[in-house]
């Protein structure tokens, strides 16, 4: 009986969550042409060397250096890296949103594109999780925190969305 009650409660919770998402709906106003025009991978260039230990090595070679200074520097750098990571995930989700919008409103079947989009999404989130784990291990000596794969995935998503526009009928004709 307890198992039945737990199952019912879980089912109702799942439905409540899904209906709330359904009712709040995807806000197409978040994915605008202005955002697309301003989007650039270059804004994430600092991520590639934020956690580079050579800066720390240089600082350690300076007179008056204490380990606490280095720790504070790297902690700050990690905080900034995480902020960049959040922005990167947000931009990726924006691109995914645009891709899904184009799929739904397309006048042609977009099964292959949708499949590719899902695959990219899963890979991207897996990489984000791996990066978060690396960041957590960074203070205990993990040195290889590399965001280049993520940036490449973001660029690939942008290219994919662009390909859909170039290959098929324009959105204006989809109406």
């Amino acid at each position: 009986m307890l198992l039945i009650a737990i199952t019912i409660v879980l089912l109702l919770a799942c439905f409540a969550g899904l209906f709330w998402r359904l009712a709040s709906r995807f806000d197409a106003q978040q994915c605008t042409a202005e955002w697309l025009d301003s989007f650039s991978l270059k804004s994430y260039a600092p991520m590639e060397r934020l956690l580079d230990r050579s800066d720390l090595a240089f600082l350690a070679s300076q007179p008056g250096y204490r380990p606490a200074i280095g720790q504070r520097l790297m902690a700050e750098r990690r905080r900034i890296f995480r902020a960049y990571l959040r922005l990167l995930v947000r931009d990726f989700n924006q691109l995914i949103g645009i891709g899904k919008l184009m799929i739904v409103y397309s006048s042609r079947d977009q099964r292959e594109f949708a499949r590719s989009l899902r695959r990219q999404q899963v890979k991207f989130y897996a990489r984000v999780c791996a990066l978060q784990l690396q960041l957590a291990l960074y203070p205990v000596g993990w040195t290889s925190v590399d965001a280049r794969d993520l940036l490449a995935a973001l660029g690939a998503m942008r290219t994919k969305v662009r390909e859909l526009t170039s290959a098929g009928p324009s959105l204006a004709q989809w109406a």
Partner: protein, 254 residues
């Protein structure tokens, strides 16, 4: 009907009244032309709810009437769910084949999941027992189907009207409740009066929810490019899609 407990008599009257009102509202608003199977389902429920009024509960005729009417209603459950999704996904060529494939897979998964608890249920020895043994898996598979397809609708920005969300909420709640009460009955918990009263209460609540929340405007709120139901939103979305397209083409030429 005088053989029913007092609370069930009250609920029976309420159910008949709300069913009549809901059928009248669907007819008056023209929604019966869009949701044909749902309208048929309501009519079947209405005729079934009249059975206790005219037929003694302790007779074989009542049993046979209930079993036959419930079997018809079971068929209509599946049809109303499939009708709703076919309306939601209509004219969406971009995801048509994907949606078809997804529904096929979720239907198969739903059927498998719903058959698993059969091992726990007692072997029936009455007509209603056999009916419940069939009904519970059908309802459970519909619950799983609604859950998984709603997930699909959440993942893709499929335009969906308020009426469709209201239908889905009503179906999900009612099917979960009915599947649970029948499952408890099939496990051997014959709390007939309590479960029947609970079920009738839920039925009345769902019907009242549909009565108050379904209307013609719930169809018109749907934002779909190419339709005339909401011209302001349609134009805004069309302009936005055009702007996104132009931006992507500009960057492709760089």
């Amino acid at each position: 009907m005088h053989q029913l407990p007092i609370e069930q008599q009250v609920l029976e009257v309420a159910q008949i009244a709300v069913l009549l009102a809901l059928c009248a509202k669907l007819w008056w608003s023209g929604l019966y032309k869009i949701y044909v199977f749902f309208f048929i389902y309501l009519l079947l429920e209405f005729f079934q709810s009249l059975i206790p009024v005219f037929v003694p509960l302790n007779g074989a005729l009542y049993l046979e009437s209930y079993v036959v009417s419930q079997a018809l209603i079971l068929c209509s459950y599946a049809l109303v769910v499939l009708e709703l999704y076919s309306i939601i996904l209509r004219d969406l060529e971009g995801i048509a084949s994907m949606a078809r494939r997804y529904i096929q897979i979720t239907l198969a998964l739903a059927i498998v999941l719903s058959l698993l608890p059969l091992a726990l249920e007692k072997t029936p020895n009455t007509w209603t027992g056999y009916l419940f043994i069939f009904e519970r898996p059908i309802l459970t598979s519909l619950v799983v189907l609604i859950l998984l397809i709603t997930g699909f609708l959440v993942y893709y920005p499929v335009p969906i009207g308020r009426n469709a969300i209201v239908y889905l909420m009503g179906y999900a709640t009612y099917f979960i409740e009915r599947a649970t009460t029948i499952f408890l009955n099939n496990l051997g918990h014959y709390w007939n009066r309590s479960l029947s009263s609970l079920e009738m209460s839920f039925s009345v609540i769902c019907l009242m929810f549909w009565l108050f929340c379904l209307n013609r405007r719930g169809e018109e709120k749907r934002v779909v490019v190419g339709h005339q139901w909401n011209p302001g939103d349609e134009q805004r979305l069309r302009a936005q899609l055009d702007a996104i397209n132009a931006s992507l083409l500009r960057s492709a030429r760089k």
